[in-house]
Amino acid sequence: MTEANNALSPHGGSLVDRVLEPAKGKEKARVARIKLPLEGARATEIMSIAYGFFSPVDGFMGYKDVDSVCKHMRLASGYIWSIPIVFDISEGEIKEKGIKEGDTLLLTYQDQPFATLDVEEIFSYDKTLMAEKVYGTTEDKHPGVKRTYAYKDRFLGGKVTLINPPKINPPYDKYWYPPKMLRQKMAELGWTRVVAHQTRNVPHTGHEWLMKGAWFASNADAVLVSCVVGEKRVGDYIDEAIVLTHDALGETGYFKEGTHFTSILLWDMRYAGPREAVFHAIVRKNLGCTHHMFGRDHAGVGTYYSPYAAHEIFEQIPDLGIGSVLTLEWWYCPVCGEVTYSGLCGHDKERQAFSGTLIRSIIQDGVKPPRLIFRPEVFDLVMEAGDRYGFGSPFVTEEYLARRNPVISVPPMEV
């Protein structure tokens, strides 16, 4: 195994930039012999690669990288990497399109030229092994395992190039900060210590205090809220509500101006628990963060991982060059009369734990949560986002899944 300096920031030492201006993109597209349409998640993964979120990954992984990531949690180059980034395809599609190693594919999205893939490798991989290594289970009830088993039987490895950068649609456009742009923004603001908060939830005060606690613990200039925008399930909060409410915590003064920034990460959660925590740390390091907060059950699902598995994994890997702020939970204590830190509050019997799920349940029952656990401005905005973007509901419905505003739109391009 090659020795690699995993503490470099960005990961691997430099940001991947594989985004072409449309004029140059057209030239690249003309080289491509074969057209292949993409589905949504694949398109956003290409954006994350091309804009450098996944640095040093510069394309879809080949066999050696996939095998090394699965078995050793490292790329073949030696850099820590925890989740395979793969382009699956069926043998039938390969034959039908006549795809072979050495080809450049023109990948289309929304019926427009979008990206190219230089096919360096066509290979197979044992999906059961991949599931077991990445998720620690082979049970298809686990959403990440289910996703893995749904992969088609072959994979294409090779570099991707974004040839037709998409428009980011409102309300997400305001929060789209790829690594290079965000690093510039942080420099402009004079921020040298920034702690990342990973979220896929509307913030309750437990989240707010996790962020504030992490700010204290890391002596940070600011908190970067990095909202995961991606695959949704019925009953989740709609993406628009998540992004807008996080921003509102700053706008309404729960975080002072200059201490809080909201951005988005286009990513379908894998729920890989500790491995996803490592992935989150690397991506947020690439964004320019110096610290990352990890709470209880980070990126977990069901009971597949111990509540603090995401804390323990950082003891088992080399220094990633981003500090881990490991926190316990915050709960409401009626004796203290406040939301307080479980590591300090001694009223174990009286404590009242709350979670995003519990608050969703309260709202579904038609009740407004009290301000100690859910800010009224956040509640109002959740409801407003439901009316404006969620067809009357702040929670994902079948209608939302079918008709939601797209996060990205690919502009027309003649090739």
Binding site: S355, T357, P370
Partner: protein
Amino acid sequence: MAETYPINIWINEERLERLQQAGLADMAQEAFAGLKKLSVPTNEQQRDAILKKFPMAKFDSATTKSIELLPRDVKDKIFDLVVEKKSLDVIDAFLASA
């Protein structure tokens, strides 16, 4: 005593009025400095049966150890049974009728 897994029914004005009319207002517990809830207990078998019957519901295993996200109309039915039977021990009856 065997562990139980509550279904939290959050008390809005309409539900509070019905509890008061039935003389059951004391059954509601205070929560989070301003809320009231009925915590309807389930045992392990009942919990699993409810999660199977209502797949949109979620057992919050990480934090609250409670069954959340049952649709409001389902909770209304459980609530109706609590008021009718003047008891929180209603889950077998609910499952039999659901």
